[in-house]
Symmetry: C2
Subunit: 335 residues, 2 copies
Amino acid sequence: MAITIKDIARESGVNISTVSRALNDAYGVHQETRGHVLAVAARLNYYPNRVARGLKTRRSHTLALIVSDIRNPFFAEVTRGAEDAARAGGYDLVLCNSDLDPRKQMEYVASLLEKQVDGILMNSVADLSRKQQDQLAASGVPIVLLNRSTASKSFSTVCADNEAGGAMAAQYLLRLGHENIAHLTGPRRHGNLTDRARGFLRFLKAANAKQGITVLHGENSFSGGQTLTQKLLRQQPEISAIFAANDLMAFGAIRAMLELGRRVPEDISLIGFDNLELASVVHPPLTTIHQPKYEMGRAASEMLLRLARNQSKPGSQHLLLGVELIERESCRKRL
Amino acid sequence: MAITIKDIARESGVNISTVSRALNDAYGVHQETRGHVLAVAARLNYYPNRVARGLKTRRSHTLALIVSDIRNPFFAEVTRGAEDAARAGGYDLVLCNSDLDPRKQMEYVASLLEKQVDGILMNSVADLSRKQQDQLAASGVPIVLLNRSTASKSFSTVCADNEAGGAMAAQYLLRLGHENIAHLTGPRRHGNLTDRARGFLRFLKAANAKQGITVLHGENSFSGGQTLTQKLLRQQPEISAIFAANDLMAFGAIRAMLELGRRVPEDISLIGFDNLELASVVHPPLTTIHQPKYEMGRAASEMLLRLARNQSKPGSQHLLLGVELIERESCRKRL
DNA sequence: ATAGGATTCGGAATCGTTTGCAATAAGGGG
DNA sequence: CCCCTTATTGCAAACGATTCCGAATCCTAT
C-alpha cells in the first residue's frame, strides 16, 4: 500500500489539510511546519496520487494526440514536438492512431473524454460527418486541429502555409528557367495538397508563364508518386521539372525516373514538399519545401495548454507557420 | 457539469450502487431495472468518469511507453504495435521520449507512477545506474523491456533474435561466395548490436571462413555508416561485402559508396538489419534482416497487460522473436 | 493590557465511483 | 403456513487528494 498524505499527517502530527498545503506550497502554512512535513514526506518516500488529485481538481494533466499513423515520419516529427511541449508544461501525452477512420476517431474521443483529458490534438476532422463534428465541438474539451488551414469556428488550428509553399516551388522552378512543368498531387479532397497546388498554379499564372503545366492526381504516397511519374513521362517525355506535393511522392518519382533511365537533376528537376529527414538521405538529396513539423507540434501543444488552462480567451485561435525552400541537389538550371 | 451516476440514480429512482452495478453489468441486478437504468443513462448522455473509477479500483487503464525518440522509424513501428494491442485491451498509451537520458527516464517513471499507470514499456534500462534499476524494480509497476535480450530477473523482456540475425547475414554472404567481408557496427556497449556482431562472427568462424574479416565500430546512424564506409574503403579497397548493423548505417554506406564511385551490388554487396520501411525505397533496394517491429510492440503490450491484470504468475517473462532474411537487390554473387 | 487583524491550523465536505454488508422481497420445500 | 435460500436493492464507507470555513494563536498598535 502506497504512502498517502494521511500517513504523513499522522507521522508529523498535523492535519492532512496542512500536509496538502505544505506539499503544494500553498499560502497559509508556517515555514517551520512546512519544512517538517516535507522532511517526513521525503523520509517516507511519498509521491502524490495524481488520480485522486485529478478527481478533485478536475484536471488530469494529460493531453491526447490523435494522428492517422505514427509510422508516417511526418507525424512522428509533429508528435515529438507536441510531446516535448506538453512535458514542458507538466502534462503527458497519450497517443492514438486513427488511420483516419471516422469511427475509430470518435471512439478515441469518447474514451479520452471519459479519462478526462484536458485537451485533444487531432490531425484532421475532415472525414467526420457534420454531425460528428458538432458532437466534438459540443463535448467541451479544447481541441486543436493540426495541419488544417480552413479556419474553423469551433476548433483551433495550427498549420503550415501550404499555399505559400506551393508558390515558392513555382518561383524556384521558374527562376531556373523551366518551361514544361508538372505537378504531382494527391486526391482532390485533400485540403493541404489542394492548397499547395493552388499556390503553385496561382504563382505560375501570375508570372504569365507561357509554359505547358500539367497537374496529375493520384495517391499521395511513394507508389503514387512512382505511378504518376511513369504515366507522366510516357505522355509527355519533354517535361523538364516536377513539383511533387510531398516528399514521399517525390521519392516515388525518383524511383520511377531511375527505372526509366531519366536522370535527376540532369534530365529532370524535382522538388518536393515536407522536408522529411530522408530527403537529405535519398539520392540525389531532394530540394524541397520545409514544413516546420516539430514546431507545428510544439505550437499546437502550447496552444492547447493555454486553452486547457483558460489562459486565453475562449473561441478558436489559428496559427499559420511559415515554410522555407531547402535547396539541395535535385534541381538544376534548364539549359 | 457532467452527468454522474448520482443524476442517473435520481432520475431512475434507484440507488447509485444499483446504477453502478447496472452499468458494469455486475451480478445481482434485475434485468428490468438494468434496462431502465441503461435507458436513462443513454437519455442523459452519460459517460463514466474513469478518474473516479480509477481512484477506487486502483487501475488507470493506461500503459506508458518510453522510447528514446519516436522519430526513429524503428520505434514508430514498435509504438504502433504497442498502441494497437493496448487499445485492443481497453488501455491507452502515453508516449514518452527519453533521448536515452537517464535523468529524463527516471523523471518520466516518477511522473507515470504518480499517474498510477498500470505498466511501463521501456526500450532500455542499460544506461541507468544499478541503483536506479533497483529503484525501478522496487516501484511495483510491471515493466517490460523492449529490445533487451539480457534476461533480467527484475524485468520482463521482448526482443528479436539479434544473434540469429547476425548469423543469417553471415550465412547469406558466405553462400554468395564473399571472402573479404566487413562488419560496420555501433558502440561496443550497445547490447543488441553486440549480439548481432557475435552471431555474425560466430557463424563465420564455425564455417571455417578463411576470409579476412574486419569489424569497425562507430556511430550507429546514417552518418556513422557513411563515415565508417569511407574509412573502410580507404583502408581496404578489396572488400567485397559489408554487413551493416542496422539499416540506417546501411543507408549511410550506400551514400558513401555512391560518392566513392563504388557500385552496389556490382562492386560491393551490402546487407542491413531491421528492414525499415525505407529499405525497399532506397536505391538499390536493400537486402536486410527483418525484425518484427510491429509484433515486438504488440507482444510487449500484451505481456504487460497480462502482468498488469495479474493474469500471469509473477516473476519476469522473456520472449524472443524470430528474424528473417529479406532478399532485395543490394547483394550479388561474388564473381 | 487589549482590541483587532493576520497567520496558522484542523474539521469536514467533496470529487464520482466501487463494494462489503445489511435489509428486504421473493420463491420453494416441508 | 413458516422457515430458509436466493435474488435484488439500499446504505455507507472507502479511494486520496483539495479546499472552504471557522477556531485558535500570534503579533502589533493603541
